[in-house]
Amino acid sequence: MEVALFVTCLTDTFFPRVGEAVVRVLRHFGCRVEFPEGQTCCGQPAFNSGFHAEAAALARRMIPIFEPHEQVVTPSASCATMVKTHFPELLANEVRWREAAERLAEKTYEFTTFLRQRLDVDIAAHLSFDEPVTFHFPCHAREAYGPEDLHNWLAHSKQVDLCLPEHADLCCGFGGVFAVDYPEISGPMLADRLEDLAASGARLVICNEGGCTLSLAGGAHRRGLPLRFKHIAECLAESLGLMEPER
């Protein structure tokens, strides 16, 4: 099966290891992975800030880049939603672009959704942890999976000591440009979330969204909290022996 990786600008820049893990896991399950090098950003920050003309301009350049590929997979659920839901909305009045956007929407998958729906992979069966683990559910993953799904993958994985946060889905305070527009609100939201995660007792936090990880890891570092964050793709790659475990 041919798959084009849409790595997203945040993962590309800050978390290359997540991109590598996605590639290795997809290859492990028999995919031929391509990386269209013309890709940059899907325009989500502009879209969420109400700069829709700018976001549409980036949508128009993203669509042809992925046009030749059978399927598109991305480690970020929020960028997947941008492509799947908001591209067709943004281009609703331009018939040919809209049709192209709908074709791209149809074949774009968030990473875990692709594993489950297209490759029929039982995520939990391939996961194992050698230390206590907790999780942060990214708000924008809701279109792809729910907090209970994330909970189940971890709870049913091998030898897991799952430490539940008090609140399964609580915003990390990132919200894209919001964190920069209103740091004085975003800060206390982040503090609430970190307090909850730290109280779980685990040091390893599973978080599948680069934006959330950037915010949470930055907050944890500022406070001297001993929390580490990993994307589920990294956990899978490590559990499957495809990557050296990172401590």
């Binding site: 820049t13 991109g19 920069v180 950037l214 907050g219």
Partner: protein, 466 residues
Amino acid sequence: MSSPTAFRQRVSEAVADERVVRAVHLATWHKVDACAESMRQLRDPEAIRELAAQIKQHTLENLPRYLEQFVAQVEQSGGQVHFAPDADAARRIICDIAAQHGAKLAVKAKSMTSEEVCLNDALEAAGVRTVETDLGEFIVQIDDDRPSHIVTPIIHKDRQQIAQAMARETGCEYTEDAEELTAVARRYLRGIFRRCDLGITGVNFGVAESGTLCVCTNEGNGRMSSTRPQVHVALMGIEKLVPRLRDLPVFLKLLARSSTGQPLTVYTTLITGPKRADDPDGPEELHVVLLDNGRSDLLAGEFAEVLRCIRCGACLNVCPVYRNLGGHAYGSVYPGPIGSLVTPLLQGLDEHAELPRASSLCGACQVVCPVKIDIPGLLVRLRARTRSSQPLLKRVAVRLWKWVMKLPTRYAWAQWWLPRLLRDCGDGWARGGPGPLGAWTHSRDLPIPPKQSFRQLWRKRLSDER
């Protein structure tokens, strides 16, 4: 009214008020848990929410027809209907009714619509003493405060503040015991109810087919306010209609559950017309004041679904922004996520352009909304309407960002520069910087990006590995 700097000022004050932040955290988490638990008790909560959303949407799409039917039914049952195009008209109509009856003392049940039109000030100015009879609103009133939540007006107050206000106003002995305080308020308000000559309530649902007003309260004060005085004035927004009596249970199942986690409010009062000839008691006159105040302008546009709102307050309780700000920072009688839509839409986007932007779009509100309003989606649409009023620097920055993202070489160049521009504190993290970086590092550090991006990694070794 408001301005970006005024809003920022209120935000800074709100997040620094530890007492309020603590009280709001406690109360909202308690409610979130109670609501979730009571929704789980419904056989199919999702289907009921879907049905409620559809009924409301259908009513809005046929509002002129249902309004006509409602007005005819209220009049047929002996009530009088007044139409208030704006807040000023609503105040004038209600003050006129008070004047016609020489009213001197009005009792009020809790009504956010009356807060919206600033009714109390108008009545007081017209010489009518107006007493809030909902316990929370009563405490707001005697403490010269403002409600900070649409269901729990004193969510921002703690026990000591309430005890002090009660002792000061009623002359009772200082106590922090909730039961004792309630008893004091009850005795005090009974005296008021005995003497009042005008009763004012809001309306939770107006039933078009019968002209019935449905008022939901927990303390019985709504029923007292609508039956004890000789004249009952009910103020309702035009969006409060439901077509049929049999639609009511759908909403009653959701309203209290979403608000407080109760299966039903303690009192659910259905009022059809004033006192009839053979009724032993009740008001001689019933006046229904239908308020537009910007609502009909929304009906045809892309924001119509905000009018589905039944004011349950669930979105406030789950909102992490509201939890850390409290209600006053929003500068409106409607705070929280729904307020960030309703306030700019009803009172002017220019004055409240910043409200839709003060959200992380986490969507917790949408998950709990009993009438399934797409709050985050609508917030984004409102943001799009205020893009031209954003600071010049931001508009330029977005343009520049777009210019970079349009070309992979520019993007890769920016990516190369980023780690070199950030000031590493020696541990791989940056703790400050200019512009947006300074805002980001207000409460979190920024990791210095790895020297090698994913695309470099791909080119160097990943692409031809198997």
